[in-house]
Structures are given as C-alpha cells and as structure tokens.
C-alpha cells in the first residue's frame, strides 16, 4: 500500500563506485591539511636554526616538486596510451573465435593482471636493455621510458579485461540480430558491438587511469626522477630534518588527491549517467 515492499531476494548490487558522492567541499581538504601541515608543524613548534619554518621550506621546494609531479602525469598518460592500445588488441583476442588466440590472450591477460605492479616495473627496469640497435641505429632506452613500458603492462592486462567484460555484458541478441542481417563478424564488432561498449568501458577505464597515476610513484623505487624521488632528494638536501617529513610527504599526498579526486568524482558521475540508459 503506502510503503514499498521489496522482494525477499537481494536487491541488485550497486558497484561500490556508483554511490552518492559528496561534493568537493572545504572539509575534504581539512583532514589532509590537518595531517599534512598543521599537526607536525605544531609538534615541532620551535623553528629551526636558520629561522625558517617547515612550511616556508616546503614553499621553496614546491615548484621543483610540482615539476616532478607533472613528469608523473606524463608517465601516466603515456603508459595509459600504450596500455590501452595493447589492451584493446589483447581484449579482442580474448573474444576471438580462433581458440589458440583466445586462450593465448586469456593467459597473457591473467599473467599480467596477477603480477604486482611493482614487480612488473622491476621486470621492465632490469630486463630491458638500456639501448637497442636497429640497423646500426642506436635507440637509447632511458629509465623513464622503461618505467612507462613497465607500467603499461598491467594497464594492458586490465584494459583487456575491461574490453572482454564490456563485450560479454551486451545481450547476445545484438550479435544474433547483426548476424541475421548478414554482417560479417568484423562488421558486427566494429559497427554494432564496440560502439555500444564504449559507454560501458569508459568508467572502469578512467578508474584504471586513476590507479595508474597513483602507481607512477613506484618509479621512484627504481630511480626515475619523479615527484617522490625529488621529495627524497629535497629532504636529504635539507639535512634530513624530521620536522620536514610530514609537510613534504603530505604535500605529495595533496598533489595526487587534487588530481585523482576529481577523476574519481567524474567517473562516478559517468557511471550514474550511463546506468540510466543501459
């Protein structure tokens, strides 16, 4: 009557991301600012010998750290591009009608999905040569390029799964309808299936990009000059003062949060928008 009765069966499960999301308000920055800057600054209220507060020192270094962060973004965009291309091919391989292609693509996907990102990064760092010879032409492989390759491997595997999942999620009626209209398999895929999949793939693809961006700091472990490495160097050149640790690491956290949070918010918005249509 006046109240809603639900079936005793469970309600449809929402994807964890597709939940009401609070707007980016001042208080979002509050915990970070508190943890990162104010708290430790208070703990070390006495300023150092040269009279500079930890916050002032951070300001001096901020432009350099920002440059490092932009390098992180360059790595993330490049690895995403490479990984997406590779993943799309691998994903289509996973739905191939030719069994060896299907199984092979499945195995490669699973292999790189199950391996930790850091291990794959080490893998690319140590096992790729520092330069290759193509017809006497020496192409150098700098560390940052290897890092991009190393990070694009797990991206590739995840994109492959996203493609496979999206194609699988389409009702089989679409395939049958296209077949009855005498489309070839390639035409069906290209004209019917993939255009419908793009909407479904976009939110998880963006989610993956966000994860990748946060994984770019792993490159610091293998010595690429990105924001985390620079932070370490900055801290060392300030003499390893313990009161600087929290503001500096807090600043790096803040940089990533400011970049990744809007992406997450946008992803949720997209998901909601497309959920209504499909």
């Amino acid at each position: 009557m006046t109240y809603r009765t639900d079936l005793p069966v469970m309600l449809p499960v929402k994807r964890p991301e597709a939940e009401p999301f609070l707007g980016l308000k001042l208080w979002h920055m509050l915990p970070i600012a508190l943890i990162a800057i104010i708290g430790p600054s208070l703990a070390f209220a006495q300023s150092s010998a040269d009279g500079q507060t930890p916050f002032g020192i951070l300001l001096n270094w901020a432009p350099l750290l920002l440059k490092g962060f932009i390098f992180n973004l360059v790595i993330s965009v490049s690895a995403m591009a490479l990984g997406t291309v590779g993943g799309a091919i691998l994903g289509l391989g996973q739905i191939s009608l030719f069994a060896p292609t299907r199984h092979g693509s499945w195995f490669v996907t699973q292999f790189f999905r199950n391996a930790p990102w850091l291990v794959l990064l080490f893998f690319a760092m140590f096992l790729l040569p520092f330069e290759i010879n193509v017809f006497g032409l020496k192409i150098p492989f700098p560390d940052w390029f290897k890092a991009i390759l190393g990070l694009s491997l797990p991206v590739m595997a995840n994109v492959s799964e996203i493609v496979r999942g999206a194609v699988r999620s389409l009702p089989s009626g679409q395939w049958e309808a296209a077949e009855s209209l005498a489309y070839t398999r390639l035409q069906t895929l290209w004209l019917i299936i993939l255009p419908q999949c793009v909407k479904r793939m976009l939110p998880p693809w963006m989610n993956l990009y966000s994860i990748l961006t946060m994984a770019t700091v792993l490159a610091s472990i293998v010595g690429v000059n990105e924001v985390m490495t620079l932070t370490g160097q900055a801290l060392a050149s300030e003499g390893g003062r313990p009161d600087l640790l929290a503001p500096f690491y807090g600043f790096v956290l803040l940089l990533f949060f400011v970049y990744c949070y809007p992406i997450a918010k946008f992803t949720v918005w997209l998901e909601k928008k497309y959920a209504v249509i499909t």
Binding site: D6, N114, F122, L253
Partner: protein, 247 residues
Amino acid sequence: MEFVFDWFRTLYQETGINLPFLYDEYDRNRMIGGFLTTIWLSLVCLFFSVIIGVIGAWLQGSSFKWTRRIVNGYIQLFRNTPPLVQLYFFYFAIGTLLPRVENDWGGQSPILGSFAWAAISLSFFAGAFNVEIFRSGIEAVPKSTVEAAEALGFSKLQIYRDITLPLAFRVVLPALNNNLVNLVKTTTLAYAIAVPEMLYEANQIWSDNVNVTEMMIFLLLAYFALVGVLVSGMNRWERAMKIPGYG
C-alpha cells in the same frame, strides 16, 4: 631433495641459469622467509582492513553528520592518493614523531618496526575500499527483511549480526575477494621500507648472485601462482556461500 638441489647446481654450472635458492640453503631460507612474510603481512592486513570496513560502514550509517563526514573524508583520502606515499607518510612522518624505546643492544629503536607500519598503512588503504564495499552490501539487504526481523522482536544489534551482515557478506564477497587479491599484490610496496617480503628477499638474492633475470622470472611466476591459487580458492568459496535457490 638433495638430488633436486644438485640438479639445479648442475644446471647453473652447465647453462649459467642460476637459481641459488634451489641449491643454497641460506638463499632458500631467505626466499621461504620472504614468502612467509608476504603471506603473514597479507593476513594481518586482511584482518584489520575487514574490521575497519565493518566499523566504517557502521559509522557511515550514523545519524551524526560529522561522523559520516569524517568516514567519507578517510575513504576519499586513502582511495585517491598513492598507497606508496601513504606508506612513506606513516613510516617516516608519523614514525619519527613516536617515542623511541631502548632495544636489546642498548641503542634506541623506533617503537614500531617497518613491518608494523606496513601493516598499519596497507590496512588503512584496503580498509577504505572495504568500507564502501560493505556499505553497498548493507544497502542491498531489503528493508522488508530487516522489518521482518524487527517484527520478531530482534534488537538492532541482533539484526545487524544475524541478518544484515550475513546477507551483506554474501553479496560483497566477490568485491571483497577482489580487494584481497589487490591487497596481496600491494604488499610488495613494503619493499620500499625494507620489510623482508618476497620482492625484498628476491632483490637481496639477485644483488648477491647477479642473477636478476632468473630471479625476476621466478618472482613473476611465484606471484602469478600465489594470486592464481588465491583467486581459484575465492571462486570456490563464493560458489559455496551461494544461497540455494537464488541465482
């Protein structure tokens, strides 16, 4: 066993493929220790991240605006920043703020070691995902089922424990398992603060033996197998937990 060890020693001598942990006892113990540390760190983080998830999901249902906001702030903060930087923040920034204690050799050592900090940091990281996972599970439990329990005189706590949580748990199991797999992979970050887990020990071995290629390939296969076993175990568990009669 000795035969196998000898075989790998010969393999090294004949072909140069060097897998020292298969014939050298010292390296073998390092590798086994690393493997066990990875498992132990995963279990500890799993335990605490699930607890954080349950408590967080419960707090999110709180009627106090600020409680919900703080939980949301925690989730967004930990989901949208790199876990490695979180780990550094915990280990270096917070770790240095804590008092030091005298160790067995009369020196000063931090009150919490690198393993403890890795466990804390990764638990909070995985916990942020678990809060959202659990909340979506709780929301999937129909209000009418809760009402039926209410009409039978169940108290709020009893409903949460006997009805909502068991049902929600079944719904979220796939997402939870996915998070657990990610957690196991994320334990490699502990390498960065010298927790002797698998990657760290492998690194020690290849530094001593200059056999990066072999160790790298072994490491990839080891994680592939570890995660593979975990995933198939989880799938089996998910099937066993299915409620009969419902999809």
